[in-house]
């Protein structure tokens, strides 16, 4: 078995573990809905619901009596399936990292020089950012596991099945130190922006639920009751996204410096440059929206979602179908 074959085997192993982790996270979300519903029922049946406790499936739950016309929040620990999900994510991450490193050794260079390798490294960074945030953040963001493992699984699967190319030497245009810096920072930015996207989606769902709760008498309970409120989610999303934005700014500048050395001009509105610029402007818009009265909240969340859509568009459609100088997808 060559190193590259070992790498590919590791990729498929990582995918299998990601798939199981995804299922575990999904079960956890379903459980959250059940717990939230039960808690709401319990709260409704108690005459003076100051605080009632039920234990469901090992996860201690506390119902805080809601003030009238407010969304119920249910405290929720870590269910066994959630623990399994996180543990498997770590296992998958290790396999994934090993796959990426062996690919790099097999190619005798950084493993991000074609579409398959971008996807391999990019998804590894998405998982890494997620795991780091789990350790660093004061809030429990394990619920994002469903999104993260799902996204990584899909991207990795598409890459391994459709984009795989065997190891080939670097064309002269890519033989530059900027390949290491520019592409790595770009993929890192993608990791942060992906997480910001997930948080913004949950923020929108949560905000809709809160609006319903404020206007209607009853709200169907679901997993959202166990998650942070929308403004907390918004602040978390913002903090993840500004890191991504700064990395993206650096990507754009490093790309310009490289373009100057490789193509003789630092900016020439090549299709990839155009989309890098568009992404930058959309996220600049997001940051301004956060500071604009009437735009903070759901509207800025939509911008974060649009922003990440442009990132994905840039990575897939622009790489594959648009003509330009960044034709290094290797396909």
């Amino acid at each position: 078995m060559t190193l590259d074959e070992i790498s590919l085997t590791l990729v498929y192993s990582a995918m299998a573990v990601y798939a199981i982790a995804f299922i575990a996270y999904a079960i956890d979300l379903a459980r959250r809905s059940a717990v939230a519903t039960q808690a709401a029922d319990a709260a409704g049946s108690t005459a003076a619901p100051a605080a009632s406790e039920t234990a469901v499936g090992g996860a201690g739950t506390t119902v805080v009596a809601p003030p009238k016309r407010d969304a119920v929040t249910v405290a929720y620990g870590r269910s066994p399936s959630l623990r399994v999900g996180v543990a498997l994510t770590v296992v998958a991450w290790l396999l994934h990292a090993a796959a990426t490193v062996t690919r790099g050794i097999a190619a005798e260079r950084v493993p991000w020089a074609n579409m398959y390798e971008f996807a391999l490294t990019g998804t590894l960074i998405i998982t890494s950012v997620y795991l780091v945030v789990l350790v660093v953040s004061k809030h429990d963001l394990r619920f994002l596991g469903t999104f993260v493992t799902g996204l990584v699984l899909v991207l990795l699967g598409v890459a391994a099945v459709n984009f795989y190319v065997s190891v080939v030497p670097l064309p002269p245009a890519l033989q530059s130190a900027w390949l290491v810096i520019h592409v790595f920072v770009a993929t890192s930015a993608t990791g942060f922006l992906a997480l910001g996207f997930a948080l913004s989606v949950v923020q929108l769902l949560q905000s809709r639920r809160e609006t319903l709760a404020a206007s209607a008498k009853t709200v169907k309970q679901n997993f959202l009751a166990t998650l942070p409120d929308s403004s907390t989610l918004e602040n978390l999303a913002y903090r993840v996204i500004i890191v991504g934005f700064i990395l993206w700014t650096f990507t754009l500048m490093a790309g310009a410096i490289w373009a100057e050395a490789a193509w003789g001009r630092y900016w020439g509105w090549d299709t990839k440059e155009v989309w890098t610029f568009i992404i930058w402007v959309v996220y600049a818009g997001y940051i301004h929206a956060r500071a604009t009265r009437g735009w903070r909240g759901s509207r800025s969340a939509w911008l974060a979602i649009i922003g990440f859509s442009t990132v994905l568009f840039n990575f897939t459609v622009v790489n594959l179908f648009f003509k330009g100088l960044h034709a290094y997808s290797g396909l």
């Binding site: 403004s231 310009a256 003789g264 001009r265 630092y266 509105w269 090549d270 155009v274 959309v282 818009g285």
Partner: protein
């Protein structure tokens, strides 16, 4: 969160989240008339309208809409080929879509980034930016000189409010007696002021109604960074717009052994900037000694893939000695104020044409343009003089010739393993005598008669390096010269590896704005980092006297902009200053 309206907010646009919300609902709407909702509409004179328009333009909402508009306006340039980056694509688009293309052209869709509408968006955006940055800069300079504001009367309403019992510093174990409370309160506040100052706060002591307090503010760098970021964006625009006009870019194809002198006439194509003066060209001489091309030979997945291109050149300034240098992809040569890039290469077969008497009427290394990855190349030979009629030849060059199943020739490897040149010969009028400029890479056969290849029934002329073949109709002969240094001795196995000259396609640029743009870009990044990560916050410590006569230390903060760590910071400061809270009430 701890976002609050601040009476002396940072001179932001009226709809900034940090500025004071107008009390009346007659705030002008984005889409139109002033005070759409108000009953009494104020009369606006011309100056009033101007002021109103300016306020609209510099509002956050307008800036945001312009930003989003800019993103949308940039999209078409990636869907339709652009003249600036892909001129051949534009030509092709006109051929493929003869009806649609002129319509798109009318809307400047082939020049999106210099179009009137795209320019309008970004100029308005930058105007809005200027209108926002100038008053903020002014305000910031004032803030930098101002004292931290008066301590608010009720700190308990502010973010992160916490209190600690007043403990005199000399006997930490016992609560201080009431008599010494006043003295130790003053000391505690002094100590708080000193600690805050050490932590980078600007501090000011205030005594309100006998209650000593300290007011502190930090993070002025946040606003500085923000202003630097926005100003540097303007700087980039100006540097690109004006500085770029002083530069030029030119292209020149140079065959091995030949040289090029940096003068206007020597360029194959030349694009001067708006303010470029060609007397600024330094006439240095650049000679291409050799072009080394290395192709993959071992990896079965990548046979023939380029590994390295290196142009070995010598450069000679006016009156100077020649110096050797190399130009590689990604490694431009920066000499005499210009940057020389290696952007392409190919083969330049050396072809000699003799008349029936055996006199040379044409001999030159003719650059052939590569058509595919294995360097199947097409070139044109034009012999205007020396024969009875003008002669044109369209040649195909295959560095490693192979025959496809269809019988057609192709190249199977980009290096010189089995080089073959085929020529289709045309006789007649080349169409170059009228002085109309024609491309050296194309032949217009309209007034010529084809003698070989195609439908003539005569086979194309086929040559390998060193071969000479008679031209049809007794016109003379054509030779494909072998330029190997040891031509004739076929001892070496790779007998053809040096047999055909290569050419390098150089781009030569000068862009004096580059350094400026880079400097502004660095400022943008630095400003961004500072403005997003340095928290701007105020903190107050007050020794408050309770109705029962006891004195407690109150701590509170105020965020100015995003500051997720504020409450934690207030608590940490209180813990440091007066010890951890005894009960959990502070939380």
């Amino acid at each position: 969160m701890s976002q609050r309206s601040d009476p002396d907010a940072l001179s932001r646009p009226a709809d900034h989240i940090d500025s004071v919300e107008p009390a009346a609902p007659d705030r002008p709407t984005v889409d139109g008339g002033p005070g759409a909702a108000s009953v009494t509409r104020p009369k606006l004179g011309p100056l009033g309208w101007l002021r109103f328009a300016w306020r609209q333009l510099t509002s956050m909402r307008t800036a945001l809409l312009l930003l989003l508009l800019l993103a949308i306006a940039a999209v078409p340039g990636s869907l339709v080929p652009q003249r600036s980056s892909d001129p051949n694509g534009v030509t092709q688009y006109f051929t493929d879509n003869p009806d649609l293309a002129p319509v798109l052209d009318r809307f400047q869709l082939f020049d999106v980034y210099t179009s009137a509408w795209f320019s309008a968006v970004y100029l308005l955006l930058f105007l809005s930016l200027i209108g926002c940055v100038i008053p903020r800069t002014k305000h910031h300079f004032e803030a930098l000189r101002a004292r931290p504001p008066w301590t608010p009367a009720r700190l308990s309403r502010l973010a992160g409010y916490t209190e600690r019992p007043l403990v005199s510093t000399d006997d930490l174990d016992t609560p201080s007696p009431a008599a010494s409370a006043t003295r130790s309160a003053g000391e505690a506040i002094d100590r708080a002021a000193a600690e805050l100052k050490r932590a980078g706060y600007r501090v000011e002591r205030y005594d309100v109604r006998g209650e000593p307090s300290v007011s502190a503010e930090r993070g002025y760098l946040r606003e500085t960074g923000n202003l630097v970021f926005h100003t540097a964006l303007l700087g980039v625009l100006v540097a690109v717009g004006i500085g770029g006009g002083f530069g030029f870019s030119g292209q020149r194809v140079v065959v091995e052994g030949q040289s090029f002198v940096n003068t206007l006439a020597a360029y194959d194509s030349f694009n001067p900037g708006r303010f470029f003066d060609d007397t600024n060209l330094d006439p240095y001489r650049l000679t291409l000694e050799e072009l080394d091309a290395v192709y993959e030979t071992r990896n079965q997945q990548a046979i023939g893939q380029p590994i390295d291109f290196t142009a070995r050149v010598s450069v000679q300034g006016q009156g100077g000695a020649p110096t050797d240098a190399t130009v590689k992809v990604n490694e431009p040569l920066r000499v005499f104020g210009t940057d020389v890039y290696l952007l392409g290469n190919g083969y330049a077969p050396t072809i000699t044409v003799r008349n029936p008497d055996g006199d040379v009427v044409f001999t030159d290394s003719v650059p052939f343009l590569p058509q595919d990855a294995n360097l199947t190349s097409i070139g044109v030979v034009k012999v205007p003089d020396g024969l009875d009629e003008q002669l044109g030849m369209v040649g195909f060059f295959y560095p490693t010739q192979t025959t496809l199943g269809s019988g057609a020739y192709a190249s199977s490897y980009p290096d010189l393993v089995y080089p073959v040149l085929t020529l289709n010969v045309y006789q007649g009028d080349l169409g170059i005598d009228e002085g109309t400029p024609t491309s050296v890479y194309t032949l217009d056969p309209t007034s010529m008669e084809q003698l070989t290849g195609g439908e003539t029934g005569v086979d194309s002329i086929e040559l390998m390096p060193g071969d000479t073949v008679e031209l049809p109709n007794g016109l003379g002969s054509v030779t494909f010269e072998d330029v190997s240094p040891d031509a004739g001795s076929d001892a070496a196995a790779d007998v053809y590896s040096q047999s055909v000259s290569r050419f390098a396609s150089f781009d030569i640029h000068d862009d004096p704005s580059q350094g400026w743009v880079l400097a502004f870009a660095v400022l943008i990044l630095a400003g961004l980092l500072v403005s997003l990560f340095v928290p701007r916050r105020r903190m107050w410590v007050k020794a408050a006297r309770r109705p029962d006569g006891t004195v407690v230390l109150e701590y509170a903060g105020l965020a100015r902009g995003e500051d997720p760590g504020l409450e934690e910071a207030v608590r940490a400061f209180a813990d440091k200053h007066a010890g951890k809270a005894q009960d959990g009430s502070a939380d």
